[in-house]
């Protein structure tokens, strides 16, 4: 591929909180939490929705990725969470290249990333109670007993009452279900959180509450964040820097 590789970091040098401020040796010691390098991905090899994109999220940094719906930013988010195999390019988590995606992802890498999706109903098994939903990653990794207390703790953190925890998805509102999905994403104490339009379906108060939960978690655990969305006001308020997802037109022209 000889086409000029456009990267979000290159195309938007105006980032306000400049990343180049910290001393270079600090960056050398701590590899970035997430590096997307020349990622091409999509659902049709002949028409990938993401082409040759690169993006870096430093350890502990919060990066917003802004773009209209359908632009491919959700696909890029899924690649970063190791949920979707790219056609080309490299994903590095804390400096280590990902060798597999989806069920082939190395467990340790997969569990270092927590992901929250736009539509909680599509991301929740309708047969599970909210408690089971939050605890699912613990059971999947054989840590059900060990993390029992953590489930309760997180449920309280996201504002779910014990009564709500016994309900199934159809018995709660979108906002309540998304609260459970955020708790689920935090259960294994990820080093990186990826939020794909986490609040697009939610009202203002629930949005502010869930962003506060994520920020509280990040400030105690030093986790990094990639927040993907279309709301510039929200991402600017939330993140250290906000990058524009390059549009097809820009990429074709550039």
């Amino acid at each position: 591929m000889t086409e000029p590789r456009s990267s979000v970091s290159e195309s938007m040098p105006e980032s306000e909180s400049s990343m180049s401020e910290p001393e270079p040796q600090a960056l050398e010691i701590e590899p970035p939490m997430l590096e997307l390098d020349g990622i091409t991905a999509g659902y049709d090899r002949r028409a990938p929705v993401v082409r040759g994109m690169s993006l870096t999220v430093a350890d502990g940094e919060a990066v917003g990725l802004l773009g209209p719906s359908g632009c491919g930013k959700s696909t890029l988010a899924r690649v970063a969470a190791l949920l979707h195999r790219p056609y080309a390019g490299t994903v590095r988590l804390a400096g280590r290249p990902a060798t597999g995606f989806r069920f082939r992802a190395a467990r340790e890498q997969r569990t270092s990333v927590g992901m929250v999706f736009q539509q909680p109903r599509l991301a929740a098994d309708p047969r599970m109670t909210l408690r089971q939903l939050i605890a699912a990653p613990a059971h999947a990794t054989g840590r059900g007993e060990e993390l029992r207390g953590r489930v309760d703790e997180l449920a309280t953190t996201v504002g779910l009452t014990p009564d709500l925890l016994t309900r199934r998805p159809h018995q709660v509102s979108d906002g309540q279900l998304q609260r459970a999905c955020v708790a689920r994403a935090l259960l294994l104490t990820p080093r990186l959180l990826i939020c794909d339009e986490m609040t697009a379906m939610l009202d203002a108060s629930t949005t502010a509450a869930l962003v506060a939960v994520v920020e509280e978690y990040r400030s105690t655990n030093g986790a990094a964040l990639l927040a993907v969305g279309h709301d510039r006001v929200l991402l600017r308020r939330w993140c250290d820097r906000v990058e524009d997802f390059p549009s097809f037109a820009e990429r074709a022209a550039g």
């Binding site: 359908g70 509102s173 949005t207 502010a208 509450a209 006001v233 929200l234």
Partner: protein, 340 residues
Amino acid sequence: MTEATAAATTTTTPPAPARRAPDGEPLLTVTGLSVRFLMPGGRDVAAVNDVSFDIAAGECLALVGESGCGKSVLASALLGLLPANARTRGSARLRPEGPDLLTASQATLSRTVRGRRLGLIPQSPSAHLTPVRTVRAQLEETVREVTGTPRAGLRAATQRAAERAAFPLDHLDRYPHQLSGGLAQRAATALALVGEAPLLIADEPTTGLDRDLVDRTVDELRRHVDDGHGLLVITHDLAAAERIADRVAVMYAGRIVELRSSAAFFGEPGPRHPYAAGLLDALPERAFVPIPGLPPELDALPAGCAFAPRCPAASDTCATLPAFDGGLACHHPREAAADD
């Protein structure tokens, strides 16, 4: 009330298009509307409680609130789409004369009301459009059904219907999946406008749309209001409400807790109900601070003010239900902020 006068004459902040005062005849009068659901096991869910408002020609009323506050149940009630276990009280009359939407039969609703006197702009246009038929085919069918246009005039009438919603004529032969989100919304709006219903209801018309598209969709809806339609917008998007509405009704736990002009609500002096104030403060362009706690379950509403467990101003008085009076239901409304 000097501040009220001031608010009424102050022009609103940039995005709002010019508003004309809602001077038209009322198109809909809702009085004391309540909706309850009888659930298995004797549970009784009070989804809408004693709601009253009206909408005039040339006016847009935005009904805002968190998910589960009852606003979509209210919309279903007005559209005659409540499930069988729902019980309603009060009335929702089309004016100047017309059936009560709560008691009219399905036959009446489908023959004389829906599409003719009341148009629905749906939440999810792509779900509302039939995927296997072109926009032209769907519009033609609706035009024929609603207006009885003979075959000879159908093509021209269909084009007029498309133009009314700014749907591009060269896209009429496309299928819904070939349309962008914005064009799908316009196609759905075109369908809603076919019968020239004076009253429009838009249920979460901007959910999932990008901000630019939200602005454009909202501005297009506003154009129909300025053309003389009455519009009820049900939304959780406060920015969209600010952009389109003449008046804002804030709903909490099934009740309207504040109803006032959009200019006074979003600008000066601001909302007076503590819940409404909290909702605005949660916006990322404002304080970005959530309201603590969760809304109450509608089958277990506290006696008195339903917001009391979350309210910073709550007192013992709040154990009795505050009456809705002067656009407000609160025992301790916030003082209108004096700017000093």
